[in-house]
């Protein structure tokens, strides 16, 4: 944690370690899925979060998801 405390609440699978250099949060993959961890160690679970670096990062929370055939063009490949 940015406080120097050790996280004992959950098992982190991976973390974008550069996030805290730009943002006050970091994108993580933990044992139950995707999440956002803030500088105080508080975790918000999400179902999708944008990758790469963007000033405003989009995310979503959804009860379910499915794989579909792509019928419309994505303007942001």
């Amino acid at each position: 944690m940015t406080t120097g405390d050790k996280n004992t609440k959950f098992k982190v699978v991976s973390i974008d370690s550069s996030d805290f250099q730009q943002y006050d949060y970091a994108r993580i993959v933990h044992e139950n899925g995707l999440g956002i961890i803030d500088k105080n160690g508080k975790i918000v679970n999400v179902d999708f979060i944008e990758n790469g670096n963007n000033e405003f990062m989009r995310y979503c929370q959804a009860p379910k998801s499915e794989i579909q055939l792509q019928t419309t063009k994505n303007q942001y490949p």
């Binding site: 949060y25 990062m57 959804a62 998801s65 579909q68």
Partner: protein, 528 residues
């Protein structure tokens, strides 16, 4: 509202996408706080200062502080080269519009085409029916309902009676009983509990309501009932009534016969008995002086069996003395009235289509054949043909493209189309794959093919669905081009081409009208 991409790319899977169901989308600012207090149904990622998002009423655009283009459009697309500043917005319109032969809008406000008889058209709204004539003139209005019948007659229920109007909207009769169909211009059939009778326009009962079928065959009227059958002249004079056997009437010659279990009794067109012969055959049809037996035998007027053709389930007689029949193995055969089989008996032909002027076509297991019997020609290089030469041209298909051919099977206009609807009232509807338009008999399009599917619903009256409309809004929310255009294309040299009602306009990226510089107003006409 689903024209925009609403999924998430799957790395490694080009054609697949992940869709999040009932999702709540938002953005994190650099502090890790959500940008918007109310999440969106979908959000595309921020590109520079803006993001395209979807709310419950449609698509819009946000920046980091607020909504800059309201969430009300059916789709929003960023314009290449101006990805961060210009947005093409789409508005979906519901319902249909009606067009004349110049594809100009006719405003039948709030009314929808209901039915037509090829001349007059009935439009309806929730509680009103309106009858429109060929020139767009209102023949009747504020009527509760209208039924269209043979001879372009129309039935309207008025004051608990049924009024009968002619094609010009003139009242020509009334009846307490609702006419089912017209036998001729003066008489109609009516029905009660499955039984039929005939009444005159003056309300006189002509044939009592006691018959299962009443039909005009050539110059005779045949009424067939369970207890008896009657044959009438065209003037409704009773010629003969029988309780056993059945009438066979030749629609070509006007002669007729009574077929009994053991005899056939013949009458000429003037109803004089002209002969009788013994037979044990059962006869189903009498046409052009031939009797057709159920076993496939064809008999002369004197009862002599001329030929045995295939035993058939169904026979169809065409104008100009041809007939086709379906044999018991379901194959169809085409004959001329000299009893020569025209089609190849070995082919597994489906039902023949008649295109007028002695032209027939048929699909068979090996392909498709066109018979031009007038010119003694056969064509096998078409994939299909459709239409009738009464409208001068028919539609032919080759290599999944459609074109119009004249009576010599010449490709008249030398143009291929993706889809076509045959000529009717001198106009045909065509599509080049990108849009629909109409053409006249000179083959020229009336306007650019930019419409959704066009149908000719009434006499030179066309229906098409309202098109989506496009406009351009900038990233400050300022409208650059009003969303009133059916098509907007960004041309390579920095000009926007816009099409409205078939007219082309050009704009620059500030929304200045470059050409033609005129007021872009609707060209809709009102009903006269």
């Amino acid at each position: 509202m689903n024209d925009c991409f609403t999924g998430v790319n799957m790395p490694g899977y080009k054609n697949k996408t992940v869709k999040f169901i009932d999702a709540k989308w938002n953005f994190l600012n650099q502090n890790g706080d959500s940008l918007f207090s109310t999440p969106f149904e979908f959000a595309q990622n921020f590109y520079k200062k803006t993001a395209v998002v979807k709310g419950k009423d449609g698509w819009g655009v946000v920046n980091s502080n607020k909504i800059i283009i309201p969430l009300k459009y059916s789709s929003i697309e960023r314009i290449p080269l101006f990805m961060d500043t210009l947005f093409k917005v789409q508005i979906t319109q519901k319902g249909a519009i009606y067009l004349d032969t110049n594809l100009s809008n006719l405003s039948y406000t709030g009314m929808k085409f209901d039915k037509g008889n090829g001349i007059n058209s009935v439009f309806s709204s929730k509680d009103n029916y309106r009858l429109i004539g060929t020139k767009g003139n209102v023949l009747m209005d504020n009527i509760t309902n209208i039924k269209l019948k043979k001879f372009n007659y129309m039935i309207v229920k008025e004051n608990k009676q049924f009024s009968i109007y002619d094609v010009f909207g003139r009242k020509i009769g009334e009846s307490k009983i609702c006419p089912t169909d017209f036998i001729d211009k003066e008489h109609f059939t009516y029905e009660d509990k499955g039984r039929k009778g005939v009444i005159g326009l003056n309300s006189d009962t002509i044939i009592p309501i006691d018959y299962d079928e009443i039909n005009l065959i050539g110059t005779k009227i045949l009424a067939v009932g369970k207890k008896n059958s009657r044959l009438y002249s065209a003037n409704y004079e009773l010629i003969k009534e029988i309780v056993t056997g059945k009438f066979l009437v030749d629609s070509i010659t006007g002669t007729w016969a009574i077929s009994n279990p053991s005899t056939m009794v013949m009458y000429n067109a003037e109803n004089k008995k002209i002969g009788k012969w013994k037979t044990t055959e059962k006869f189903s049809h009498y046409y052009a002086n031939y009797f057709f037996s159920e076993k496939g035998g064809i008999y002369s007027l004197k009862g002599k069996q001329i030929k045995t053709i295939v035993k058939f389930d169904e026979v169809i007689f065409y104008p100009e003395h041809f007939f086709s029949l379906q044999d018991q193995s379901k194959k169809w055969h085409l004959y001329s009235l000299d009893l020569r089989e025209i089609s190849d008996p070995q082919l597994e032909n489906r039902k023949f289509e008649y295109h007028g002027d002695q032209v027939f076509s048929v699909h068979n297991k090996g392909g498709f054949t066109v018979y031009d019997l007038k010119n003694d020609q056969q064509y096998q290089d078409f994939t299909s043909i459709r239409g009738d030469f009464t409208s001068e041209f028919i539609v032919a298909e080759k290599s999944n493209k459609y074109f119009f051919v004249d009576r010599n099977f010449t490709d008249t206009f030398k143009r291929r189309y993706q889809q076509v609807v045959e000529f009717k009232n001198n106009f045909a509807c065509v599509s080049d794959g990108k849009g629909w338009t109409i053409i006249g008999k000179d083959g020229y399009t009336k306007k650019m093919p930019s419409y959704p599917e066009i149908k000719q619903v009434g006499y030179q009256l066309f229906e098409t669905s309202k098109k989506p409309l496009y406009g351009i809004i900038d990233s400050n929310g300022k409208t650059i081009i009003d969303p009133i255009f059916e098509k907007l294309t960004i041309l390579n040299y920095g000009v926007i081409q816009a099409i409205k009602e078939g007219e082309i306009y050009y704009f620059d990226f500030s929304g200045n009208n470059l050409y033609p510089s005129k007021n872009i107003a609707s060209s809709s006409q009102s009903l006269k």
